[in-house]
């Protein structure tokens, strides 16, 4: 402890020395910051000027375009070395290094790309929602999360936290809501696995994504009414329909903690013989061993993962089709010390303060463990005609999850619990051409058919469910105002097949309701925009909430469903103000989510007696709950080299009916980051170094006697990162990065980690990332 305090102090001192140093440099620079660079951009072949080429000076905010004669000019530049990038569709992008002392003239000749302008189709990203706050990760910020789980990566977005079961099982939480209340759209298909359990992570390889987006708040109109907490979009890059030769990238990531290695590669290209055909192959391997906390190793916490995906598609101006197949396979060890037979085992561990089982580093995965497979086949087609676009998306998913308990003299080879879920989804969406040039929108139908088989220990019965929905969303953009309104109707049928003894007992449920959204954005000027959105959504109770019955082994609880539960209805009001100037951007968002008939597990006064001892008894009940809070982010380019980012999440959840707080709500947190852009160092361009600090408060808003131990104390985590790009040739590049997480090996426990009873959270972890683009 003392040691880490000393390091913190040292850090602060170094930081201030850095500030002083920077002031000196800055003072010196102002005098020399009137350099300029200018030139003409021409076509290499025809020697004609190129109009509208976009020029950027890397690592600065300076951007300009060429005028009618192909001229460009940047002024007020400081002395130094820069990389000048020139881009325009139809030509190859060029990068030129310039060393500025006073002025320079750089005339650029661009070579035509293999694609000719007339073939280039301008693809606009379809907006998820204009009026709802969202955050996304792409490019560098996504790169920095490579090798981590999906939920860990998403935590970079303000308002998103995670619910963990150890190191590799993590699921995202948006504004305090998770699991069934959040929809994950993986490459256009709603992810259907085992959302219900906190120890079931989304079965998605994050390396597939080129972009991760989180839409906060009830966003069910477009994707399905049950998204009352938000939507997570996992989007891969477009297939290379237009760019030439074969290209790809290779990612390697190594983590010191768990000695985890990740290797992921992508290769893609187009068929030169047939215009408009593109393809991509991608695969990831991951292997990790026992995770170390600051004080001890966690036995049996290894992971082995193998994923691959293949995609091929054809695109023309009028028609397009795409096939995507992915397979996700993981074998996860469940921390041996977390397996308890009875409540007295749990209380003993808590009293002991650390796990009874100690281990060294080991890669073996023993019981208990999980073997998870997820297959996805997607077929998508679209047709564009007279300004309209009709698209059809079909998906088939098969999710198989085998849980091997520690228990059982008998089940040496057989899993104690096996779920097999098959889901078929279909979406038909018509995006109509603008009405009166101002109103754009879409109407759509979606269908879902799903069936589940459970083998082994009775917990969730076999079931079959179907869903049919229809929606319409229209957007009206007029000068400074943007309006959006949407309406959706869903019906769900659920058949449950239970066995009472050897007799089959079938239960049928039917749910149907409306969801809607209305919102507006007011762009006051180029700096300030204000948005507000009101959305409603509903979620029928899921099978586990209706029918689960049994001991949850890791949770030391007997959980019982209630078949008379009614659907939840959410009323979600959000407001958001965004200010952007050249060097400063800030966003503040408020939300208030009222959920009527909110379903949760309520502790019962009497424990339940089983052969493994007495267990606390929980029943699924309904209440009216409110989730209110605020998200704040700011990005400040203090100077050209120094950048500060801050994120604050505040959330307060309350059970209105019981007049008490809700359990398992993420604690408030503040995150600060300071980045210094070094620029070019030896051969590395765009180099940077950054330090980050995360403070998570203790969750004090908990109902009394709701837990076996009080919520863990507040904690501070420090991280450091360095990175940059090494440009090998015009097409080849190596992006590198070194990250240190939990730099001071702080011993902490997080309230939303189910392992908090048994052990500390992960200790210091250094990682090295190398990405080779070819």
């Amino acid at each position: 402890m003392k040691n880490s305090q000393r390091v913190v102090r040292l850090f602060i001192v170094l930081f201030f020395i850095g500030l002083l140093d920077f002031n000196k440099v800055h003072a010196q620079n102002t005098a020399d910051c009137d350099c300029f660079v200018k030139g003409v951009v021409k076509d290499r072949e025809t020697n004609l000027p190129i109009v509208g080429a976009v020029l950027t000076i890397k690592n600065t905010s300076k951007v300009t375009t060429t005028d009618a004669e192909g001229h460009y000019k940047f002024d007020r530049l400081c002395q130094g070395s820069y990389v000048l990038e020139c881009k325009i569709i139809g030509y190859k992008t060029t990068r030129t290094s310039i060393a500025l002392q006073h002025s320079a003239e750089e005339n650029l000749n661009l070579s035509e790309d293999e694609v000719h302008l007339q073939d280039v189709e301008i693809v606009a990203r379809r907006v998820t929602s204009l009026t709802q706050p969202s955050g996304s990760l792409q490019n560098q910020s996504l790169e920095q999360t490579r090798g981590q789980t999906l939920a860990e990566a998403l935590q970079k977005i303000v308002g998103v936290t995670m619910l963990q079961t150890g190191a590799f099982i993590a699921k995202p939480v948006i504004h305090g809501l998770h699991s069934n209340r959040i929809l994950i759209i993986n490459n256009g298909i709603r992810q259907e696995g085992q959302q219900w359990g906190s120890e079931h992570a989304p079965e998605i390889d994050p390396f597939i994504a080129k972009r991760l987006t989180v839409v906060k708040g009830a966003a069910g109109v477009r994707y399905g009414s049950d998204a009352i907490g938000g939507v997570i979009l996992v989007e891969p890059a477009e297939l290379p329909y237009t760019t030439g030769s074969i290209r790809g990238e290779l990612n390697t990531v190594g983590f010191t903690n768990g000695r985890t290695g990740v290797l992921s590669g992508t290769i893609e290209g187009r068929l030169n013989k047939w215009k408009g055909f593109g393809w991509r192959l991608q695969g990831t391997l991951k292997n990790g061993g026992n995770i170390r906390t600051p004080d001890y190793f966690l036995a049996n916490t290894g992971v082995r993962e193998q994923n691959f995906s293949a995609a091929a598609g054809y695109r023309s101006l009028k028609l397009g089709a795409e096939v995507f197949y992915s397979q996700f396979h993981t074998n996860l060890g469940i921390f041996s010390g977390s397996h308890i037979g009875s409540t007295s085992d749990l209380l003993n561990v808590i009293q002991n303060g650390e796990p009874f089982i100690k281990a060294d580093f080991n890669r073996a995965i023993e019981r208990p463990n999980q073997l998870v497979d997820h297959d996805l086949l997607k077929i998508k087609a679209y047709w564009q005609f007279s300004g309209n676009r009709l698209s059809l998306t079909l998906g088939r998913q098969h999710n198989q999850r085998a849980e091997y308990d520690l228990h059982g003299p008998q089940a040496a080879l057989k899993p104690a619990l096996l779920f097999r879920i098959t889901t078929l989804t279909s979406d038909v969406v018509l995006e109509h051409k603008p009405i009166a040039k101002e109103i754009t929108g879409q109407i759509g139908f979606s269908g879902l058919h799903q069936y589940n088989f459970t083998d082994g220990r009775p917990l969730i019965p076999d079931f079959e469910q179907s869903n049919a929905g229809a929606f319409v969303i229209e957007r009206w953009i007029k000068q400074k105002w943007e309006w959006e309104a949407g309406l959706r109707y869903d019906m769900r049928w659920l058949q449950v097949y239970r066995f009472i003894g050897q007799t089959l007992d079938q239960r049928n449920h039917q749910f149907n309701s409306w969801s809607g959204t209305i919102g507006s954005v007011f762009n006051a000027n180029s700096h300030l925009s204000v948005r507000a959105n009101f959305g409603t959504g509903w979620r029928p109770p899921s099978v586990n909430e209706l029918y689960s019955k049994g001991v949850h082994h890791g949770a030391a609880a007997y959980e019982e469903g209630n078949e008379s539960l009614r659907p939840e209805t959410a009323y979600n009001l959000m407001g958001n103000v965004e200010y952007t100037s050249e060097r400063f951007r800030a966003e503040i968002g408020f939300y208030h989510n009222f959920i009527q008939n909110f379903i949760y597990l309520k502790p019962q006064s009497e424990p339940i007696l089983t052969i493994r001892g007495a267990f606390p008894y929980f029943k699924y009940v309904q209440t009216n709950a409110t989730f209110s809070g605020a998200d704040v982010t700011s990005e400040w380019n203090i100077t050209q080299r120094w950048e500060h980012t801050a994120k604050i999440s505040y959330l307060r959840a309350y059970d209105q009916a019981d007049d008490n707080y809700l359990v398992a709500i993420p604690a408030n947190r503040i995150e600060n980051g300071l980045r210094y852009k070094i620029g070019k160092v030896i051969h590395s361009h765009d180099s940077f170094v950054s330090i980050g600090h995360l403070w998570v408060d203790q969750q004090k808003r908990v109902p009394p006697n709701s837990d076996f131990m009080p919520p863990p104390s507040a904690y501070h985590l420090w991280s450091i990162q360095v990175g940059g790009d090494i440009i090998l040739t015009e097409k080849q590049k190596i992006t590198w990065g070194i990250t240190g997480q939990n730099l001071f090996d702080t011993a902490y426990r997080d309230y939303l980690n189910r392992f908090r009873y048994y052990s500390l959270d992960q200790g210091r972890n250094f990682s090295v990332r190398l990405k080779w683009i070819f």
Partner: protein, 189 residues
């Protein structure tokens, strides 16, 4: 066809494709099978010098939840010696599944612990050993004290090796409970 008309036709055709896609075929549901359920714990006491066994049972035939378990009261005579056998059964299956043999076979990772309260009620000494010479506890001897009453906690501890290293050390601490039940005990004259 009018544009609006053709639009409708196409949308319907697409929807139909989608609907057909959504109608899958599937197998029939089968009953769940908890392959490691223990419903019954049976204690057989045989007083030294006699051949009449006394059987006491703890039963929860429908598993966790549902109907509450039933427990018989153990009555023993004061200041006597008994031979004791412990059995674990799954009576939810027909025929009854006897789990005792498997516990014995995997003796290296199982330990039966009998804890009387108050401790003066009786003393228990296991007579069986695993391959590392630690007790298993499925059979043993009980020496009762003077006239008294109290309770007996019976635990079946599952203590499998972790990362290949055995953890069983003859004490109750490592591992987790497979069984943790309590009987009422009367030690009478």
């Amino acid at each position: 066809m009018k544009p609006a008309h053709s639009l409708l036709t196409i949308t319907l055709a697409f929807t139909l494709t989608a609907v057909i896609w959504s109608c899958g075929t599937k197998e029939a549901p089968a009953p769940e099978d908890e392959n490691e359920l223990i419903t019954t714990v049976r204690l057989t006491f045989t007083e030294d010098g006699t051949t009449t066994p006394q059987k006491f049972e703890w039963k929860d035939l429908d598993g966790d939840g549902g109907n509450a378990p039933t427990t018989s009261r153990i009555t023993l005579k004061a200041s006597r010696s008994y031979k004791v056998d412990v059995e674990f059964l799954d009576e939810s299956k027909t025929p009854t599944d006897n789990i005792t043999d498997e516990v014995r076979e995997e003796g290296d990772e199982h330990l039966v612990v009998l804890t009387p309260t108050p401790s003066s009620l009786f003393t228990y000494t296991a007579s069986d050993k695993d391959s590392r010479n630690f007790p298993i506890g499925l059979s043993g001897n009980v020496a009762t004290g003077s006239i008294n009453q109290g309770s007996l906690r019976l635990q079946l501890r599952h203590q499998p090796p972790v990362n290949g290293q055995p953890v069983k050390n003859g004490t109750v601490a490592p591992g987790s409970d497979d069984v943790n039940i309590t009987f009422d005990v009367v030690v009478a004259p």
